[in-house]
C-alpha cells in the first residue's frame, strides 16, 4: 500500500461523510440512521468482529489438520 492509496481511500470516505451530513441529514428509514457515520463504524467494527470471531471458532473446533479424515 502506497501513501496515495490511503489518500484516495480517505478522500472517498470524506466525500461519503460529507454527503451523509448534507444530503442525508434528515434521512431516517432505519433506526441506525441517527447514528453519525454508522456505516463506517459498521464496516470497521464488523470487519474486526468477523476476523476475531472466525479466528476463535477456528481455534475451538473448526480448523483441523489436513489428514484429519485419513487418520
Amino acid at each position: 500500500m502506497k501513501t496515495w492509496h490511503w489518500i484516495a481511500l480517505g478522500t472517498l470516505l470524506i466525500v461519503s461523510l460529507i454527503l451523509e451530513f448534507t444530503y442525508l441529514a434528515d434521512y431516517a428509514s432505519h433506526w441506525w440512521n441517527h447514528v453519525p457515520a454508522f456505516y463506517a463504524l459498521l464496516g470497521g467494527l464488523g470487519c474486526a468482529v468477523l476476523i476475531f470471531v472466525s479466528k476463535g471458532l477456528g481455534k475451538i473446533f473448526i480448523l483441523s489438520d489436513e489428514d484429519y479424515y485419513d487418520r
Binding site: 466525500v15 442525508l24 464496516g43 470487519c47
Partner: protein, 575 residues
C-alpha cells in the same frame, strides 16, 4: 412426439451430450458451445404458457412451462453454459464435455418443468451428470468426494421425491405452484429436498466438500447450476415462507465465517456461494414482488460473478498446480490480466457500486426495508463485509500479493480461458452500469432505482473501513495448511466405523461361517469315505495287527460275496 421433444431447450443439451461422442475430437469444443447457443435462442424466443404436454400414467406432464421467472433463469443457465464452454475450449476430455452438457440440460429442464415428475427427473439428471465433473479430476480425494457428493444428492432427491409423493397422496396437484406456508409432512420433505440443493446448513456440506475437488472447468459449471436451479425451485414453491428469512441470514453469516477460515481458494469461493445464496433465501422468505425480483436478480448476477471467480481460481490452479493459500503468493506480476478480471468479480460480489452485485443486493435490502426487517438488513450487511474480506481481499492478497511461501512454476494460461473470463467481467460491468437491462427481464415489473446517494454512502463507508480493518488485522486470518470441519464430519468421521459395522463385520461373519461349514463338510465326507473302519476297528491278534479295511484281495472277495448273498436274501424275503 419425438420431434416435439426437440422444442425443449433441456433436451437439446442432453441430446448434445449424446451427439458429442459421435463427432471428431477437433470439432467437439465448438459443438459444445453450439448446443447452449441454440438453447439460448430457443429460451429467448419461446412464447409464454404451457407449451408441451405428454400423458404419463393418469397424469398429464407439463414439459415446457414458460413464464417470466423461468425465462430469466433459462437465459442465465444457457449463457453460463456458453461461457463455461469457452473456458473449457482447450479440454479434450469427452466425459467432462458430455456430462457438463447433460448437467446444464438438467438445470434447464428443472427450470422449464411444469410438474413435479418432470422436475424430479431433471433434478436427478443434474446430480448424476455433475458427479462426473468431480471424478474427472482423477485424484484419490476427488474419487471419494464425488461418491459422497452423489450419495448426498441421492439422499436429497429421495427427500424431495418423498415430499412429492406425500403431496400427491394428500390431494395436492402435480403442477408446480407456490405452496401455502403449512408445516405438513409433504411440505417439510419437499422443503428439505430443495434446501439440500440450495446448500442450507446443516445440509450444505456437500458443496464445500466437492467443489474444491472438482476439475478446473467442472467447478465453473457446478458453481452456477445446482444451487441456483434449487433457488429457482424455492422461488416457485416456497415464496413468503417466513422461516426462510432467518434461514437465509444464518446461511449468509455461516458461509462467511467458514470462507474466512478456508485455506483452499476454491473452498473460500464455495463457502461464499452458501453466503450469497443466503441473501436469495432471505428474499424468498419475504415473498413480496420486490423481494422475489431481488432473489431472481441476485441469482442471475451471482451466477455471472461467481463463475468468473471460479474461472480465475481455476486459472491460478492451472498455472501453479496448487490451490492452497499456504503455498501461493508472490506472483502478482506474472498474471496481471487474471488479477484484474478476478477483481471485477470480487468487487461485484462485495456490492461495489456500478458492478452487478450492487444492483441486486440493494434490491434485496430494499425489500427487507419495506418489510421493516431491520436486523436481517444489518446481519446481511455484516455478511457483505465478510464477503469483501474473504473474496475481495483475503483471497487475492494471499494468492498473488503476499510474500512468496514456496517456489512456484507459473505456466501460461490458454487464451480461451481468458476470453471466457473477459466475457464474464463484461457482463458484471454491463449489468452494473445498466441495471435496466436486467430489471426489464425480471418476473415482476419494477421501477426500482439502485443508484441513490444513500446506497453510495452506505457501500463506500463499509468497503473503505472494511479494507482498513483487513489491512491492519490481516495477520489474524488463517492461511495455514488446515481443513475446516463442517457438518460432513457426521458422515465422514464415522465412515470407518460404519464400514466396519456394516461391511466388514458381516463380511467376517460370513467368512467365518463359510469356514466352519466347509470344515464340517470335509469331516463328514472323510467320515463317509470308509465307514466300515468304524464298525470293524483295527485290533491286534496274536501279536499282529489286523486292520478292518486291510483284508487281502481274496478275503475281500469272500466278504463281498457274503454281503451280496445277504442282499439277495433280503430281496427274496421282502418282495
Amino acid at each position: 412426439m419425438i420431434v416435439e421433444l426437440l422444442s425443449i431447450p433441456a433436451i437439446i443439451l442432453i441430446l448434445g451430450a449424446f451427439v458429442l461422442p459421435l463427432l471428431p475430437e477437433r470439432i467437439r469444443s465448438t459443438a459444445f458451445i453450439t448446443f447452449p447457443l441454440l438453447a439460448l435462442a430457443m429460451v429467448w424466443t419461446m412464447p409464454e404458457g404451457n407449451l408441451l404436454q405428454t400423458p404419463f400414467a393418469s397424469y398429464e406432464l407439463q414439459l415446457l412451462a414458460v413464464d417470466g421467472l423461468s425465462r430469466i433463469f433459462g437465459i442465465i443457465f444457457s449463457l453460463i453454459t456458453i461461457i463455461g464452454g469457452i473456458y473449457a475450449f482447450h479440454i479434450k476430455d469427452l466425459g467432462q464435455q458430455s456430462s457438463a452438457l447433460a448437467y446444464a440440460g438438467g438445470a434447464l429442464g428443472v427450470t422449464f418443468a411444469g410438474d413435479f415428475f418432470t422436475l424430479f427427473i431433471f433434478w436427478e439428471i443434474m446430480a448424476a451428470a455433475s458427479s462426473y465433473l468431480i471424478w474427472a479430476r482423477e485424484t484419490k480425494e476427488s474419487d471419494k468426494a464425488g461418491m459422497r457428493y452423489l450419495l448426498v444428492h441421492i439422499f436429497g432427491g429421495g427427500l424431495l421425491f418423498t415430499g412429492i409423493l406425500l403431496h400427491l397422496t394428500s390431494g395436492g396437484s402435480l403442477m408446480i405452484e407456490s405452496i401455502e406456508p403449512a408445516y405438513t409432512a409433504a411440505n417439510i420433505f419437499m422443503l428439505l429436498g430443495v434446501a439440500l440443493n440450495t446448500a442450507v446448513p446443516p445440509l450444505h456440506a456437500w458443496l464445500a466438500d466437492a467443489y474444491p475437488k472438482a476439475t478446473i472447468t467442472g467447478a465453473v459449471f457446478m458453481s452456477a447450476l445446482t444451487t441456483k436451479s434449487a433457488v429457482y425451485v424455492m422461488i416457485r414453491l416456497f415464496p413468503g415462507w417466513e422461516i426462510l428469512i432467518w434461514v437465509g441470514v444464518v446461511m449468509a453469516i455461516y458461509g462467511t465465517i467458514y470462507a474466512l477460515l478456508a485455506n483452499d481458494i476454491r473452498e473460500i469461493l464455495a463457502y461464499s456461494i452458501i453466503s450469497q445464496i443466503g441473501y436469495m433465501v432471505t428474499a424468498i422468505g419475504i415473498g413480496s414482488e420486490l423481494a422475489l425480483n431481488g432473489a431472481t436478480a441476485h441469482a442471475f448476477n451471482h451466477i455471472i460473478y461467481k463463475s468468473l471467480l471460479f474461472m480465475a481460481a481455476g486459472a491460478v490452479i492451472h498455472a501453479t498446480g496448487t490451490s492452497k493459500l499456504s503455498e501461493l503468493g508472490g506472483f502478482a506480476k506474472k498474471m496481471p490480466l487474471i488479477i484484474g478480471l478476478y477483481m471485477v468479480g470480487a468487487l461485484s460480489i462485495s456490492g461495489m457500486p456500478f458492478l452487478n452485485g450492487f444492483v441486486s443486493k440493494t434490491m434485496i435490502s430494499g425489500a427487507l426495508g419495506d418489510a421493516h426487517l431491520e436486523w436481517p438488513i444489518l446481519l446481511l450487511l455484516i455478511a457483505t463485509i465478510g464477503t469483501f474480506l474473504h473474496t475481495g481481499l483475503k483471497l487475492p492478497y494471499f494468492t498473488w500479493f503476499a510474500e512468496k511461501k514456496s517456489e512456484l512454476e507459473v505456466s501460461s494460461i490458454p487464451t480461451n480461458m481468458k476470453v471466457a473470463m473477459g466475457i464474464g467481467a463484461f457482463f458484471c460491468i454491463l449489468f452494473g452500469l445498466a441495471p435496466q437491462l436486467l430489471y426489464s427481464q425480471l418476473p415482476y415489473p419494477t421501477d426500482f432505482k439502485p443508484f441513490s446517494i444513500y446506497n453510495f454512502v452506505e457501500m463506500t463507508q463499509i468497503l473503505v473501513l472494511a479494507f482498513a480493518g483487513f489491512w491492519f488485522l490481516k495477520k489474524h486470518l488463517n492461511i495455514s495448511s488446515t481443513i475446516s470441519l463442517d457438518t460432513d464430519w457426521f458422515y465422514r468421521r464415522p465412515a470407518d466405523l460404519v464400514q466396519k459395522a456394516f461391511v466388514q463385520a458381516p463380511n467376517n461373519l460370513f467368512g467365518f461361517t463359510e469356514d466352519i461349514t466347509l470344515k464340517l463338510a470335509n469331516k463328514l465326507s472323510a467320515l463317509s469315505k470308509n465307514p466300515i473302519r468304524y464298525m470293524l476297528p483295527a485290533f491286534t491278534s496274536e501279536g499282529r495287527e489286523v486292520k478292518s479295511d486291510g483284508f487281502t484281495a481274496s478275503m475281500s472277495a469272500a466278504l463281498a460275496f457274503i454281503l451280496f448273498g445277504f442282499l439277495v436274501a433280503i430281496l427274496v424275503v421282502f418282495l
